[in-house]
């Protein structure tokens, strides 16, 4: 049985379909990345997985007793709200002090427990949010665009951390991203989403799929992506993309 299974999921908002008949499943121990352009329903899918949105149609079934650790894109702690890191990690359930310290050390943030959450940098906040999810001892870890505020080395570090978490806990991990060349190295499987599942498979299969190329074009995602694609595409110029590329 899959860790979590989504069948024929349809979600509409104000009559407009955001997700249309989406089916996918995620197994224990694998890292799955969901990519898609803005407005493709990535975040909506994650919200449905954590139970924040009721689908109009379809079903989401998790293995009984599945604990989900969720890492949101950001927090909206108002500056008027004082909140220490330790206190935040104990919400809504109190956690033992040594568990908090050990988990903070695990994500490479020893000694921040007395700091205010609002004083953390983007990268530190992302790690604190990950620590909060890990304290729940999750079987399924969901991360919504975790690297959007990080620079290149920060992104690489964060993904290395995610990979080691998978090694250690054996949990299933779902990462939402629009950042493609990072996706490539970090995940077992990529699901390309644009209201529906365009294509899915290993990173290599997805990056070569015509549906994927139609969505993202080639070479818009930094030098690494250009380099990759130049090796495996055939210089026929009738694929659709809306930018000049450098041959």
């Amino acid at each position: 049985m899959s860790r979590i299974k989504v069948q024929n999921l349809t979600i509409k908002r104000d009559g407009i379909s955001i997700l249309d008949n989406v089916s996918l499943s995620i197994e224990d121990g694998e890292i799955v990345t969901v990519v898609g352009p803005n407005g493709s329903g990535k975040s909506t899918l994650m919200k449905a997985l954590i139970g924040a949105i009721e689908p109009q149609k379809g079903e989401i079934t998790a293995k009984p007793g599945t604990i989900i650790g969720y890492v949101p894109q950001s927090l909206n702690i108002d500056p008027t709200m004082p909140m220490g890191v330790s206190r935040f990690l104990s919400l809504p359930r109190a956690r033992p002090k040594d568990a908090i310290e050990a988990t903070l050390a695990r994500v490479g943030l020893s000694g921040v427990n007395t700091r205010q959450v609002s004083d953390l940098s983007g990268g530190q906040l992302q790690r604190v949010l990950l620590a909060r999810a890990l304290l729940r001892d999750p079987q399924l870890l969901i991360l919504d665009e975790p690297t959007s505020g990080l620079d290149q080395p920060g992104i690489a570090d964060f993904y290395a951390l995610i990979a080691s978490v998978r090694e250690e806990l054996g949990c299933a991990i779902v990462i939402v991203s629009h950042d493609l060349h990072v996706v490539m190295s970090a995940s077992d499987r990529v699901i390309c989403l644009n209201g529906h599942v365009c294509c899915h498979g290993t990173p290599e299969i997805v990056s070569a799929a015509p549906e994927y190329r139609a969505l993202f074009g080639l070479g818009t995602h930094g030098a690494l992506a250009i380099y990759r694609h130049e090796h495996d595409h055939h210089h026929d110029h009738d694929h659709s993309h809306d930018h000049p590329h450098e041959h």
């Binding site: 919200k47 949101p72 702690i77 709200m81 004082p82 935040f88 359930r93």
Partner: protein, 264 residues
């Protein structure tokens, strides 16, 4: 020596401060200041309804405040931005309340006492209602505390922890309606939200955790309430406005002092 009515007034202020302190923190953290304001304005309609139906003012205000809060919370963000919606509902129900009161021929009502509060009219029954209301609000906040906090930091994080942030919003709406219903006589519809917001804003300067901030807001609310009450008798001014003026003065002093301390 305190006169009897003065003792009642002091107890009323302390009772309201007990509920308004911690609740005011959530109003500030969740940027619900205007929400509290609008609900309080709508309460005047509750006063009119209570007089027309000859039910208790407390019940009339509670029902109207709760209805307003629920309508605003469920409609906001759909067609109109919630502050537009709040503006429509707040002022429409305030105006409607005032119009409705003038249709009640037998009622000689001192409207000012509901807009600005009249602490001298607080009776023993009112005191009981105030303390029961404050106890209810404190019990609600105590029971939901951690869930309210996590919902305030991020609603998706709340969902993922098995907490429904919409339910927590309803808890806050109910608490705000209760505070407005019990305090409309003491501080008045126009100044209730000041009593919620200013002590919490003052406490922000002094606290490094949500619990300490709530505790300090309560102490500051009670302190400025009693100080304002005392001042209003010394210099013979209206009590509600004097209480709010006192807490505003305290806010300015504390904010200035902590800015100075940070700068050093």
């Amino acid at each position: 020596m305190l006169d009897d009515f003065l003792a009642r007034a002091a107890l009323a202020v302390v009772g309201i401060a007990l509920a308004a302190g911690p609740l005011g923190c959530f109003v500030v953290w969740r940027r619900m200041a205007y929400f509290g304001d609008a609900t309080a304005h709508a309460a005047v309609l509750g006063v009119a309804l209570a007089l027309a139906l000859e039910i208790s003012i407390f019940a009339g205000v509670l029902v109207v405040a709760l209805a307003t809060a629920t309508i605003v919370a469920s409609l906001s963000g759909k067609t109109y931005a919630s502050d537009t919606l709040l503006g429509v509902i707040a002022h429409a129900s305030l105006a409607l309340g005032l119009v409705a009161i003038s249709f009640l021929p037998d009622v000689r009502l001192d409207l000012m006492s509901y807009l600005f509060g009249d602490i001298l009219t607080v009776s023993k029954t009112d005191l009981i209602i105030i303390f029961l209301g404050a106890a209810a609000v404190l019990a609600l906040l105590w029971w939901r505390w951690a869930y309210l906090l996590i919902s305030t930091t991020n609603s998706d994080l709340a969902y993922a922890s098995g907490v429904n942030p919409k339910r927590e919003q309803l808890v806050l709406n109910l608490a705000i309606a209760i505070v407005i219903a019990v305090s409309i006589q003491v501080v008045g519809a126009l100044l209730i939200s000041a009593f919620l917001i200013i002590p919490a804003a003052t406490a922000r300067n002094l606290a490094r955790g949500p619990e300490t901030m709530a505790l300090m807001a309560t102490v500051i609310a009670a302190g400025s309430g009693l100080g304002g009450l005392w001042a209003s008798f010394q210099i013979d001014t209206q009590t509600g406005p004097t209480i709010v003026t006192t807490s505003a003065a305290l806010f300015v002093a504390v904010t200035a002092l902590s800015a100075l301390r940070r700068a050093r």
